[in-house]
Symmetry: C2
């Protein structure tokens, strides 16, 4: 059970400090301002931090605490873990200087692992950023808020071997208003790993989707089973980096990970029903789509509606490349639309409403194509050059979508005028993407992560 990490009532912060030069000061600030349980600063160098009592050791707290957070030199930690039996249930060790730091560090990590096993203490880390959790207010990420915005609360949980990767993603998500539930950076994962976390998140009511950054998985079969169980309850997507030789070598020196052959990971994801991600852009897209989107897609049949022929063709290319189906219009829908739309329109899939488009054409095309059983999802690609388009378009599309009860993705590439329109779409709760490729990938994630697999 990982309750000591995801539902701690009390925390000891070992190495607590107010000195802004120490990373622990950031953690102390965060916990002080947002963690709602008991917080005990521990540091033999101080009697108090401000007006708060500071303890010389965890033992001196005299209460059992759920979680100890270590932000001190690596060499002292194994002994403190060994002495921790009965004093704390879990430890987050953000300190580096273990397996990733050569032979001496490797020995120290071995010592740490044995100490933890003997003391019955669960460990996240070392060499990690730990946990950022909007449910409990736990935040051991030692990056100051001016360098990393904290995302708001949401349903997305992120598991990451790389701390800096998690930081960068969280910062981007925050800037885009995408919320998260739990983010775990486990670094060297000497104890708690991705499978432990998946087991917890599978049953976690706060988590509606999980996205993983993976450099290596050591217990392959356990991972497949844990992921498959999680997939029964919510979508899981994973990026495995280091699929090339150079990158794999880099991953090894980064978190001491033996990356292994990519094909094995790809097959494992498939077996477990995990959505496979290819790179950083995919990772961000999956976070946005799976975390944000409450949409249900029952299949892979995409209708593309645009007022710019070239963009429509580019979207169709991207969709087909991703294994989505850009199926031709049925004859009754074609007849109905030929009777409704201006004759210059290309009534097909993709459908080109041309530069003569007015708002209502988008609405008519969307309704007539999606109301039957021929399509599962639509991409509406509105270019804003045509003078007949007004700022009422987003509301019109949102209304149709509500009535049709199918996901509608907006693709709206362009410059300043277009980016201002983005706000109107977002305000209507419509997911917006700026390129054909990203819109198509978003649809593929919605289709792969579709809820009917778990309904």
């Amino acid at each position: 059970m990982l309750d000591c990490f995801f539902n701690p009532r009390s925390i000891a912060l070992v190495g607590a400090s107010l000195n802004p030069e120490k990373l622990s000061s950031v953690i102390y600030e965060s916990l002080n301002s947002r963690f709602t349980g008991e917080l005990y600063p521990v540091n033999p160098a101080h009697e108090a931090l401000g007006r708060v009592k500071c303890y010389p050791s965890i033992k001196a707290i005299k209460e059992r605490v759920d979680l100890a957070v270590f932000a001190i030199g690596a060499e002292h930690i194994p002994e403190m873990i060994r002495d921790g039996a009965g004093q704390f249930a879990g430890a987050i060790i953000v300190s580096g200087g273990f397996k990733e730091a050569g032979p001496a560090g490797r020995m120290l990590e071995q010592e740490l692992r044995e100490a933890a096993a003997r003391a019955g203490v669960r460990i996240i880390g070392p060499n990690c950023l730990g946990i950022y959790d909007t449910v409990t207010g736990l935040d051991t990420f030692f990056i100051p808020p001016e360098r990393m915005e904290r995302p708001p609360g949401g349903g997305l949980s992120i598991l990451s071997q790389s701390g800096s990767f998690a930081v960068t993603v969280m910062d981007e998500l925050a800037a885009n208003g995408v919320g998260v539930a739990r983010v775990v950076s486990y670094g060297n994962k000497t104890d708690v790993n991705e499978s432990d976390c998946l087991d917890f998140l599978a049953a976690d009511e706060a988590t509606s989707a999980v996205v993983l950054y993976i450099e290596s998985v050591e217990e392959g079969e356990r991972f497949v089973n844990a992921a498959a169980r999680c997939v029964l309850n919510k979508p899981v997507a994973a990026l495995k980096v280091g699929h090339t030789k150079a990158a794999a070598a880099a991953a090894r020196s980064h978190t001491g990970a033996l990356a292994g052959r990519y094909e094995i990971y790809s097959a494992a994801f498939k077996k477990a029903g995990v959505i496979e991600l290819h790179g950083y852009e995919d990772f961000l897209l999956a976070c946005r789509v799976l975390g944000d989107n409450k949409d249900i897609s029952h299949g892979r049949r995409v209708m593309i509606i645009t007022d710019g022929g070239g963009i429509g063709v580019a979207i169709a290319d991207s969709c087909v490349d991703l294994g989505l189906e850009v199926t031709p219009l049925g004859s009754s829908v074609t007849r109905a639309l030929r009777g409704t739309l201006p004759s210059v329109c290309a009534v097909s899939n993709p459908m080109d409403l041309t530069g003569s488009v007015i708002d209502r054409d988008f609405g008519d095309a969307l309704q007539k194509t999606l109301e039957g059983n021929e399509y599962d999802v639509a991409i509406v690609a509105s270019l804003w050059g045509p003078p007949g388009l007004t700022d009422n378009l987003p509301a019109l599309i949102a209304e149709k979508k509500k009535y049709l009860k199918k996901p509608v993705i907006i693709c709206t590439p362009g410059g300043t005028y277009t980016r201002q329109r983005e706000e109107h779409f977002r305000a209507m709760g419509l997911p917006v993407f700026f390129t054909p490729e990203s819109a198509a990938r978003a649809v593929s994630f919605i289709a792969e992560g579709r809820r009917d697999r778990w309904a």
Copy 2:
């Protein structure tokens, strides 16, 4: 010779109007404010536009003009072209209603083509947006400036079968401050096509790079020869859309293009030395990199330097996927850097300077790896979490780059704080990308488009 299009001294605008509901009013406004030659409005419905004399016909101008721009109903145009012998050398026909509009339109276009051949008039279009040219001030794009920003002057020229695609790209380039020389949208290309334009641009001193959007090429061998000649002088990149069946069908209804098998295009690009683009994102990246960048890359060996291990691994993956070489560090460089950098750094390629990084580490790593003959180009991926990084970093990297005389690409993913740093990099003339994938693709374009092929 296409001088009538790219260096016109006089223009007749047929259908000129001040009525803002008419597309021609946008063209008239643009030409009035930026075209430096003679401009003759032609419209039998008006004696004057404001205080400017308006002519009832081209004939009534009584002077030979270089270029006639037609923004009137399709049905009148063939006859006016037929009568144009000796009156104008070239015509841009923005009007639709030809080949793309069914059997009647197809006949009308055939009539147009015959008329042009007989009258000795060259034609761009019909069903197009024509030319936007920062060299001459010609602008027949009938999208009002509030819906499409005009890019500033620059060395990039764009050829596009799709008008809306060209509009969207120009709008994005303008928002990103990327300049252009000539943009040509030729739509149905009943006469002037991509090969004619390539022939002109090959020798055009204003053009330093060419990027094409292609739905179809009818004269395959001519295209390969024209592109290959252009590649002798400057980089050429091309996106062929409609490589999937659905998309190809859409392209046919869009500009009447018979798209043909993608593999043929891919082979033609290779033969001609054209950089092959895959989708809209690639197209934009190529515009930015080839248009903006004065850098010379002599090869494909990439050095990756980062302070975020996970991002470094992701960049290495992307580079290798694109056929770039992420070659390991040589032993003497490794020794030199081990003596210079803090011991926590992973001295390898990718190089991870870790969260303990300070500005100088980036400078040292860049200099020691690029100053020898082991690498052609570097990607510097700076994550801004580490507290030791300051706003002096961009200037430091720019200085090293100047000394090293090799291209340095910045990859800086993140949120608000990071996006503010972007400005500092740009101010130093460093190309900035926000994702590992886009930075890697930018490097691949620089390597493929490298100048030494033409030196």
